[in-house]
């Protein structure tokens, strides 16, 4: 292993490691724009110039592999001068329109200008005036003035989606990122270019002008869009709405961005997953309980549900349909409840659309199909059931399970849709982003879903409703007070989950036992 000295620290690194990576491995970031772990190396931004002893010129840290005996300086005067020079070059034609730029607050130009710039520009010439707000695709807007030409977006479309919509046009100072004639940036992963863009040149239409990023409360969780289970960060608006005097906090999801997990989604997410929150926000939420078509108190609805389920359980006419988007804790709690009430077939509803692609997207839209099936078993559709518990979380009418006319329905779910409309009892439950739990993705990887914001209306986690129904039916309900408790019971009961704890899941999840040797 090559031994290298970086800023006086001697370290051993694997052969082929670049100076930039070696620095990162000890927590020291060399400033960079064009370099990205998930893309090929362009080496053109020149921000990561470092000084290697015995080299006549500064070298770029992103491309230069460490060699045995190499002595690198990343913070000496020569390097600092070059960095300040690069910052000055980056900014001479940059519009500095931070006050109206969505990137402000998480902009590498801002960050590095503060850290490595001189604070003043010697540029007194007119700045280049280029196109603003260019519509280049369904979700992405381009500001050519803000672009620093790092080429990350181009490389993403060339190397990851292999769709090649973007390119450089013109040359020199006049060179610009652009879309090839006749093309649109409409590939299913287009939003990633916005995350990749280190500045505010590429912005997401759905996020533009929605909030300043420093008002976001960010939560690391798992996308519920399909069985991939991409690791994401959900940003929830915390800004007090200015149009009202109520002082209410927005508390709605403003955006979803990918979180690196090389076992699952690398650095990316698909556009559909990125925008799931919009579909949810656009759907009618069930906010109060309903009994026989009229609003009811939660307690009344729970009592009614308990009555109907217990009676059917006793009569052997009970069945259940479970959404594959429900967290494992919810499925387990309801399975526990149903067993106590006499049992019946539990069917995990299948949600499939389209086909698997060769990047991330899965045809199976059930974020927890695997986990739900491990808990509930592979029950057939309960067509014979006279009373049906529908644990719904489905959005599209087409995704809704067909229920024979005349079936008595107890619906527990977040949305007013499908089965909820004809339900004898409907109880609102928290949506995916409003409660915590565990998803198991198609690989059998268990991952932690975290609560990003409070449930709307009277909605509450589905597993809590299961406990309340059990208690109302006069059965002994387990003494679970958090989803961690449910997970502990689940891990003790269902072998595939054994050993899994909230702690073991961490931020990146773990392969569940059910996948060992699979």
């Amino acid at each position: 292993m090559p031994k290298v000295t970086i800023d006086g620290h001697e370290m051993e690194v694997a052969p082929g490691t670049t100076i930039l990576q070696a620095c990162l491995s000890r927590g020291h970031e060399i400033p960079h724009y064009c370099y990205h772990d998930g893309l090929s190396i362009a080496g053109n931004c020149r921000m990561c110039l470092v000084d290697v002893e015995k080299q006549p010129k500064l070298v770029i840290g992103c491309y230069t592999p460490v060699a045995d005996g190499m002595v690198v300086h990343t913070e000496n005067e020569k390097v600092k001068k070059a960095r300040a020079a690069m910052m000055e070059f980056f900014l001479i034609n940059h519009p500095l329109d931070c006050p109206i730029c969505d990137q402000a607050g998480e902009c590498r130009l801002q960050e590095y200008a503060v850290e490595h710039g001189t604070g003043v520009s010697r540029y007194t010439e007119p700045k280049l005036a280029l196109a603003k707000a260019v519509d280049i695709g369904a979700h992405v807007t381009l500001d050519q003035e803000r672009c620093i030409q790092c080429s990350r977006c181009i490389r993403f479309c060339d190397e990851i989606t292999k769709t090649g919509e973007l390119g450089f046009f013109q040359r020199g100072e006049r060179s610009q990122i652009g879309i090839f004639p006749g093309k649109r940036l409409d590939n299913p992963y287009s939003g990633n270019v916005v995350d990749l863009c280190p500045v505010g040149a590429l912005t997401l239409k759905e996020f533009r002008f929605q909030t300043r990023v420093w008002y976001l409360r960010n939560t690391s969780t798992i996308c519920a869009g399909c069985a991939r289970g991409c690791n994401v960060v959900v940003g929830v608006g915390q800004q007090q709405t200015m149009m009202t005097t109520s002082g209410q906090i927005d508390d709605r999801i403003k955006r979803i961005v990918p979180r690196v997990n090389t076992e699952v989604n690398d650095w990316w997410i698909c556009d559909e997953g990125r925008l799931t929150y919009l579909r949810e926000q656009g759907s009618r939420r069930l906010v109060t309980s309903v009994v026989s078509g009229s609003a009811a108190t939660y307690d009344a609805a729970v009592a009614k549900a308990a009555e109907l389920l217990a009676a059917a359980g006793k009569a052997g006419t009970l069945g259940a349909i479970v959404s594959p988007r429900l967290v494992s804790e919810d499925v387990f709690a309801w399975k526990t409840a149903l067993d106590a009430l006499g049992g019946g077939p539990i069917h995990v509803h299948e949600l499939t659309r389209g086909e698997d692609d060769d990047l991330l997207i899965r045809a199976d839209k059930g974020a927890n199909s695997t986990g739900a099936a491990w808990i509930a078993g592979k029950g057939k559709a309960p067509v014979a059931a006279k009373t049906l518990l529908v644990l719904g979380d489905t959005l599209d009418a087409a995704d809704n399970p067909g229920v024979p006319a005349g079936t008595e329905i107890v619906y527990v779910g977040p949305f007013v849709m499908g089965a909820s409309r004809e339900a004898a009892v409907a109880i609102p439950s928290a949506s995916w982003s409003e409660a915590g739990g565990t998803f198991v993705n198609f690989q059998g990887r268990a991952q932690r879903v975290r609560r990003c914001h409070l449930p709307v209306g009277e909605a509450r986690p589905s597993w809590r409703i299961a406990l309340d129904v059990l208690a109302a039916a006069g059965a002994v309900a387990p003494a679970w007070s958090s989803e961690d408790d449910v997970l502990a019971a689940l891990a003790a009961k269902v072998p595939e989950f054994s050993g899994i704890t909230t702690e073991s899941l961490g931020l990146l999840g773990v392969p569940a036992r059910g996948t060992v040797g699979a």
Binding site: E88, F90, I92, G172, E173
Partner: protein, 434 residues
């Protein structure tokens, strides 16, 4: 006594582009000799011994460059020989002469290089504007293929080498060797990060060697007459062989002149070039190697035109584009024009060059237009210093080097522009000559 014309021996002969004419003057004998009696490595060794250095600008030893190529050809990774005929450096027009007037010499040199590096295809990447040269070369290739000098089973032997002329689309940057490769592959002409160097991974990721037109034109003579002869021309051991000098500017007879490396600049200007254009306007400055290299003041012009002599003067032989400027020249205007070229030709890939070249140009235009500020002079130096050495290829340096030298060596003229919003009193530019 004028030196023997070697590289230009056919220039001016009747029908000089025709194969028959070339053969009649001993053409393709070197190729016959090499293919018949020399191994590729033997040829490379001979070129190494000759001391031939690249004529494109950097002066890298040619034989050494060839020796970096793998000694055996992996059938999956054929060797490519590239000829850089994208002659675009301002003040340079020697390769064009060779291609237009003696295409078979260029082809024979190309074939010899290809043989030495075991290439099966040689591309001549030619500047798009050279339409006539392209036509001449293409006709010459047809003739050469017909007589088995090129193409399949050259001279009846086992070695085959296809010759292809590829026209550029009008970008100076495509004369940079790795940008040329990108362009040849059909991509934007962006210079590539090194390593890998072309011999390891060049065009289409295959082992590649790239040489300038004039460089390979020397090779037939090295083969024919031997490395020792080559060493006897010019200034042994490191500045050997004949050289084409492109003389332009304020001289009476601008043009391409051949002389052994090490020709005194004064001799080029005053004897070959016929002296200054106007007898009453003395020499002010000379750019000795194309617009990218540092300028020399008149008092620095007592120098031999070869790689090392010019290096010792802090400048470069470059592409041997010698641009002569007399007392009427406004150095601010000249520099602004040069800066405009690099601003226009920067590929835009690296930040310092992309942003810096435009910045330099704007400042220089401002100073020239009488709107210069006192801080501009040091700013020009600082921007140039910030570009220098900080980019993937040398285009940034090519913009910075002349700027630094012009401002440092002719600071009084720049200062005068700032102070008086006009040219230095006494330059003829003031009197409307420019």
């Amino acid at each position: 006594m004028p030196a023997e014309r070697i590289l230009t021996r056919n220039v001016g002969r009747p029908d000089s582009t025709a194969l028959a004419s070339y053969e009649a003057n001993g053409g393709y004998q070197a190729l016959r000799k090499a293919v018949g009696s020399m191994t590729p490595d033997g040829l490379t060794e001979e070129v190494k011994k000759s001391g031939l250095r690249g004529r494109g600008g950097a002066g890298f030893p040619t034989g050494l460059k060839w020796s970096f190529m793998p000694k055996e050809v992996d059938p999956k990774r054929p060797h490519y020989f590239l000829i850089n005929a994208d002659e675009s450096e301002p003040g340079t027009f020697k390769d064009r002469l060779l291609m237009e007037k003696d295409p078979h010499l260029v082809l024979e040199g190309t074939l010899l290089g290809a043989y030495a590096i075991r290439a099966s295809v040689a591309y001549i990447y030619i500047r798009g504007e050279f339409v006539h040269a392209t036509q001449v070369l293409e006709r010459a290739i047809e003739e050469a293929v017909a007589k088995r000098y090129a193409g399949k089973n050259i001279l009846g032997g086992a070695w085959s080498c296809e010759l292809v002329v590829h026209r550029g689309a009008g970008a100076y940057i495509c004369g940079e060797e790795t940008a040329l490769m990108s362009s040849l592959e059909g991509d934007r002409g962006y210079p590539r990060l090194k390593p890998p160097f072309p011999a390891a991974s060049g065009v289409w990721k295959c082992p590649t060697t790239i040489n300038n037109v004039e460089t390979v034109a020397n090779v037939p003579f090295i083969v024919e007459r031997g490395a020792d002869w080559f060493q006897s021309v010019g200034k042994a051991p490191k500045n050997t062989g004949p050289k084409l000098y492109c003389l332009s500017g304020h001289v009476r007879r601008p043009g391409v002149y051949e002389a052994p490396l090490g020709l005194p600049m004064k001799e080029l200007i005053h004897e070959l070039g016929g002296g200054m254009l106007h007898a009453d306007r003395p020499l002010k400055a000379v750019i000795p190697g194309g617009s990218s290299v540092p300028v020399l003041r008149a008092d620095e012009c007592d120098v031999d035109l070869d790689f090392d002599s010019l290096m010792a003067k802090g400048t470069m032989l470059g592409s041997a584009g010698i641009m002569v400027m007399d007392a009427s020249t406004c150095m601010v205007a000249a520099m602004a024009r040069i800066a405009h070229f690099y601003y226009h030709e920067s590929c835009g890939q690296c930040t310092p060059c992309r942003e810096g070249c435009g910045w330099l140009e704007r400042i220089l235009n401002r100073i020239e237009g009488g709107k210069g500020l006192q801080q501009d002079l040091d700013l020009l130096l600082s921007i140039s210093d910030n570009i220098m050495g900080n980019t993937i290829c040398a285009l940034g340096d090519a913009a910075a080097m002349p700027t630094i030298s012009f401002v440092k060596k002719f600071r009084d003229e720049f200062q005068h522009h700032v102070d008086h919003k006009s040219c230095l009193t006494g330059t003829l530019a003031l009197q409307g000559v420019r």
